[in-house]
């Protein structure tokens, strides 16, 4: 992906019409004036997903991997078809590398609890960046406490860029895992994953990538990135809540013991001993969210129909436009997101608490997230209680940013005197 130029007057990508895309999302029919700038928390759902899930329940629904009757076989086909869609979306080598879970949080916890104890010794180190979401901090912190390992934090620089030199200096033969986000959910910083993987692998460390913010908006090729694990939540990718994917290299998954146990993940059970299935089923105990997986597959189809290159280009242009418009407003401070800031702009109005900004923006019909964004250590580093965060989706356009800027102006007039 090319570097994002940070000055924009116009944010139009040829052949892409966000207004037409917007019509695919029923929420905007219900709320025509809504300026929705909180897709980083959860994206709205296109008609294809909403209707597709209902249609699946009407036509093909039964439990999966169990029934010998044809309806169950059809449901299993639909479920496994969704797995293949996720494989293709990530360009994973093999669909057995795709595990269906409830979300990125569950995926990270699975790796922490299954891979962790099998591979970590006291004194080993896990490196995370300083722009991680709590879900990519706390599971590692707990694991380290339990096993006597060390959690090491690698910094971003004052421009918001991931500091590769600092990271390289922290890597050592003790490093067992590097767990980093692909795009920061606070600053929009895009991390140089391929390079991080190269450096980590040279030391024999594995790499887990939190792809929640990146996956819905840019091409992601896990083989090109070379990472060992890549996780994302379906609901941030226009899919249903309660769905998510863990991608793991097959050899890594194969080496990992079961995490939760029960039905669907075994080959044989005796009172004395149980034999477990191979991945991915080993990690999918119990009846999965079948319709959720089907819905996630439809969401990935929807994203693919727009084209991730196109979405990246559109959102990159719009991110630049937002940074530009907001930075023209006096007293507005933007948290720097490095050279490749994508889809997220965090800011503050001097002297105004983010919650007050959020309330005023809401009254102007602009939905943003305010607060610490599940990244308290980063807030601490930036020396702020929280930020106002505008995050983009495929349905946003310049008019949304203009209304955001206008509402921010109104807020400033009210509070800053």
């Amino acid at each position: 992906m090319a570097a994002a130029p940070l000055r924009f007057e116009k944010a139009t990508v040829r052949g892409f019409d966000p207004r037409a895309v917007r019509r695919e999302f029923p929420i905007f029919t219900t709320h025509p004036e809504l300026v929705f700038l909180d897709s980083g928390a959860s994206a709205q759902k296109p008609r294809a997903v909403i209707d597709g899930i209902a249609e699946f329940y009407r036509t093909d629904y039964a439990n999966v991997h169990r029934g010998v009757y044809s309806l169950s076989a059809r449901a299993t086909d639909r479920f496994e078809e969704a797995r293949e869609k996720a494989r293709a979306f990530l360009n994973a080598a093999d669909e057995r590398e795709i595990v269906f879970l409830r979300g990125a949080t569950e995926a990270i916890n699975l790796v922490a609890q299954s891979w962790g104890p099998a591979c970590l010794k006291p004194g080993d180190e896990i490196i995370i960046s300083d722009v991680e979401h709590h879900s990519n901090i706390v599971p590692w912190q707990m694991l380290c406490e339990r096993l006597g390992a060390r959690l090491v934090v690698t910094p971003t620089d004052p421009t918001g860029e991931f500091d590769l030199a600092a990271f390289e200096a922290l890597l050592s033969p003790r490093t067992r895992l590097v767990a980093v986000t692909h795009i920061s959910n606070v600053t929009g910083t895009l991390l140089p994953i391929a390079r991080i993987v190269e450096l980590a692998h040279a030391k024999g460390a594995k790499v887990l990538v939190d792809g929640c913010q990146a996956l819905p908006r840019m091409p992601v090729d896990v083989q090109a990135l070379g990472c060992d694990f890549y996780v994302f939540s379906g609901h941030k990718a226009y899919g249903p809540t309660g769905t998510g994917i863990l991608y793991g290299r097959y050899d890594a998954l194969q080496s990992m013991p079961p995490w939760q146990t029960g039905g669907g993940m075994i080959t044989s059970v005796e009172y004395a001993k149980t034999e477990f299935q191979d991945p991915p089923h080993r990690f999918e105990a119990g009846t999965p969210d079948i319709a959720g997986a089907v819905g996630l597959g439809l969401a990935l189809d929807f994203v693919e129909s727009l084209g991730r290159e196109t979405i990246a280009e559109h959102e990159q242009a719009l991110t630049g436009y937002a940074v530009d418009q907001l930075s023209r407003i006096p007293d507005v401070q933007i948290a720097p997101g490095g050279q490749h800031q994508l889809s997220i702009v965090s800011f503050n109005i001097d002297g105004v608490h983010p919650h007050d900004v959020g309330t005023v923006l809401d009254q102007h019909g602009v939905a943003v997230r305010v607060g610490h964004h599940c990244a308290q250590p980063l807030m601490e580093k930036l020396g702020i209680a929280g930020t106002v965060r505008a995050s983009l989706g495929v349905y946003n356009d310049e008019a949304d940013i203009d209304r955001l800027a206008k509402a921010v102006e109104a807020c400033r007039e009210m509070f800053v005197r």
Binding site: H353, H355, Q363, H364, M414, F415
Partner: protein, 159 residues
């Protein structure tokens, strides 16, 4: 451009903006008899309330912390109305205030406290903004916790 038809100025009245910008009694007490912290994990707001209780009377009250305009103004106004009150009066004021901002049953309000209830009236604008009610009540919950725990420095959290 106001979908809900609620006027923002009902929430952010001048008196709220003023107390939000220039909070009164914004300091630590040197010799408190009671103190407690309030924490809203949702927004990270923190407030510490200090009391100097002599006999059954609140001789002095102050607060420190960081928060939004609503919680800062609520804490500031709270310290103003609590100073000089008996503990019983203070509790009665909290009950009245809580009912008014949450839309609950206020019960009979003692006539002697009417002036103070009126002074707190500007904060009742939060009623129309349910997600902000906790901002207004946080300092009061900290005050109540302080009364209960003395100098044990209890921490109350909004759920």
């Amino acid at each position: 451009m106001n979908d809900s038809g609620i006027d923002l100025r009902e929430l952010y009245q001048d008196i709220i903006l003023d107390h939000g910008r220039h909070p009164r009694n914004f300091r630590a007490l040197e010799h408190p008899t009671h103190l407690a912290r309030g924490h809203n994990p949702l927004c990270g707001d923190r407030v510490t309330v200090y009391l100097a209780v002599e006999g059954d009377r609140i001789a002095d009250v102050s607060f420190e912390g960081r928060g939004c305009a609503i919680s800062t103004a609520a804490a500031s106004l709270m310290t103003e109305v609590l100073k000089g009150k008996t503990v019983a009066e203070a509790r009665a004021l909290f009950a009245q205030f809580h009912a008014r901002v949450t839309g609950g049953e206020a019960g009979e309000s003692p006539e002697t406290l009417q002036d103070d209830i009126d002074r707190l009236e500007p904060l009742t604008g939060v009623k129309a903004f349910p997600v902000r009610v906790k901002c207004a009540t946080l300092p009061w919950h900290a005050f109540e916790a302080a009364l209960k725990s003395g100098l044990a420095a209890a921490t109350v959290k909004t759920e």
